[in-house]
Amino acid sequence: MYTGMVTLQVLDTVFYEAQRQGRISFYVTTIGEEAINIASAAALTMDDLVFPQYREPGVLLWRGFTLQEFANQCFGNKADYGKGRQMPIHYGSNKLNYFTVSSTIATQLPPAVGAAYSLKMDKQDACAVTYFGDGGSSEGDFHAALNFAAVMEAPVIFICRNNGWAISTPTSDQFRSDGVAIRGQAYGVKSIRVDGNDALAMYNTVRAAREMAIGEQKPVLIEAMTYRVGHHSTSDDSTKYRPANEIEWWRMQKDPVNRLRKWIERNGWWSSEAESELRIDVRKQQEKLLRETIERHPRDYPEDVPL
């Protein structure tokens, strides 16, 4: 799980820099939410259907999407499963049961409930899992989905990544309810609030939620509290609307990757040598892969950007 989180961090850094260099046109980072991504994915099985928003590439990474496949989608080259039809970070994979990312907010929630219902009708030992942010909980689709999930008793897990910001809108301007967990309760859905930066807590919560969803055939809402350390996307500069020291504090003090690292180090399963080795390894691998991808598909690469 830890190597997954580190890989995700490095992947984010490499692609973000690639965007800044003009190699890809757009990117969305997951910095600060690695625990939610990887830990929740680890608690699920491959049969569970995932309906993501757009800040959950870690789930896909965990399931086996290769770094090459990530690069192909971002570059929109011939090898891209989406055939260059979608913007970067709109990953999708039928075989990994990961529904293709759609730009629109919260539109994946009702289909997730529908898919869960079909799993229930087919009596499968699987559930549907859907992710969205605090901003997504304002959309009409959120309310329709939760209500229906409760009424139809669909085995679906709603994971809300409450990261405090919806582009520049803080949660204080987004809603005045006691977060998102209480909304689940209002609809008759079992809800829980968890520290999203605690990888172990996330893992345990999602695992328990999965058992509840499938065993009792009921929906569950998990509100994972975290912070969006990065910008909303590469088209955003978040220092324009939030203090830089706030971002720094969350990045340094509350980083989920560091937190897990300290725990595994304290237990003697990890060391700082292993850490630097891992990071250098993954970074080199990624950069080499990027270069190879560009070289393999030269026509799908902007002409005016130097290699």
Binding site: G76, Q86, S168
Partner: protein
């Protein structure tokens, strides 16, 4: 406020046409005195929109702006830059992410008598609010026999930008253009943007204001008359951007630029194209289009949106209805490809109209003709 509402209910539609008529008279008078070639300065569309919003908000305390990221963030495309700082959070409202919600709220405020300007981050996201836009904004005035009007403007980027994929690139001109009760405008230049936004805010009907992301940064010369704070353009009137005599090319928004470039290429080959900037999709300036076709006898309609049931289809029908005898060639229609817009740059280029496509269509229209003898009698 109640007194104001009563005034509106009793005046019905009578007060407004008088005012509009007066404005028209002032405008035509000034048009004959000044010419637009005396460019005072360059202004980009974003600045034009920002200034128009600023002036209208200063002039009328009922005007307010609402939408996602319009306040603190200065606008997702910086169109509302500085407005929160100037007018405060009561008049520049940052909304939660629910288009259906804040559209409905804006319409409610308009029913009460305020004049909201609702910004959609793109009109693609406005689909979430379709029910409110059509059933609440467009139809209520009619259904209430004029008792419940809504003076509201819905604005935002429409159509394709560059490499943003299918869900960020659809053109909604034909969708909104088919709804009675709405007015739909699509500005091209800074002058269009400024004049039409002011007119839209002042208009008592709900107006859909279709901007274009790629035009925001484009500079256009604006005359001193345009910069005046009482300037506005009439909704429902098209503009002849370039006069010609061989073929009429109608276009709106970004495509006007493409049509103008095409007309320059055509001029080198001896074809004089008349380029019409529609400015207004609903009401469509059928008179001007037909007048032009009656002069040139050939028509090419250009739009970025999907071909079926598009704006070009409506223009073609209007011309067939009123100017059939004047047509020397079938109407040519240039539209986006009948496919969800792909992301990859090479695919996107193939799916959207390019200048070469317009040139080819104009040539086709000029070389194909029905013998005049058959049309006589």
């Amino acid at each position: 406020m109640l007194g104001f509402l009563r005034h509106r209910a009793t005046a019905g539609g009578s007060a407004v046409p008088l005012l509009q008529g007066a404005l028209q008279k002032v405008r035509t008078a000034s048009l004959s005195l000044k010419s637009y070639s005396s460019a005072a300065k360059d202004m980009n569309v974003r600045e034009a929109l920002n200034a128009a919003l600023d002036e209208e908000m200063a002039a009328d305390p009922r005007v307010f702006l609402m939408g996602e990221e319009v306040g603190e963030y200065q606008g997702a495309y910086k169109v509302s830059k500085g407005l929160l700082q100037k007018y405060g959070p009561e008049r520049v409202v940052d909304t939660p992410i629910t288009e259906a919600g804040f559209t409905g709220i804006g319409i409610g405020a308009a029913f009460y008598g305020l004049k909201p300007v609702v910004e959609f981050m793109t009109f693609n996201f406005a689909m979430q609010a379709m029910d409110q836009l059509i059933n609440s904004a467009a139809k209520t005035n009619y259904m209430s026999a004029g008792n419940i009007p809504a003076s509201i403007v819905f604005r935002g980027p429409n159509g394709a930008a560059a490499g943003v994929g299918a869900q960020h690139s659809q053109c909604y001109a034909s969708w909104y253009g088919s709804i009675p009760g709405l007015k739909v405008v699509a500005p091209y230049s800074s002058e269009d943007a400024r004049g039409l936004l002011k007119a839209a805010i002042r208009d008592p009907a709900p107006v859909i204001f279709l901007e274009n992301e790629l035009l925001y940064g484009e500079n256009f010369p604006v005359s001193a008359e345009v910069l005046d704070s009482s300037f506005s353009l009439p909704i429902g009137k098209a503009k002849i951007e370039r006069e010609g005599k061989d073929v009429t090319i109608t276009s709106f928004s970004k495509m006007v630029g493409f049509a103008l470039k095409a007309s320059e290429i055509l001029a080198k080959e001896g074809i004089s194209a008349e380029v019409i900037n529609l400015r207004s999709i609903r009401p469509l300036d059928r008179h001007k289009i037909n007048e032009s076709v009656q002069k040139t006898n050939r028509l090419v309609t250009v739009e970025e949106g999907f071909p079926q049931n598009g704006v070009g289809a409506e223009i073609c029908t209007s011309v067939v209805e009123e100017s059939f005898g004047y047509l020397d060639a079938p109407v040519e229609r240039i539209a986006g490809a009948d496919v969800s817009l792909p992301y990859a740059a090479n695919l996107e280029r193939m799916a959207l109209p390019q200048v070469e496509d317009i040139v080819r269509a104009a040539k086709r229209a000029c070389y194909r003709s029905i013998p005049m003898a058959a049309a006589a009698n």
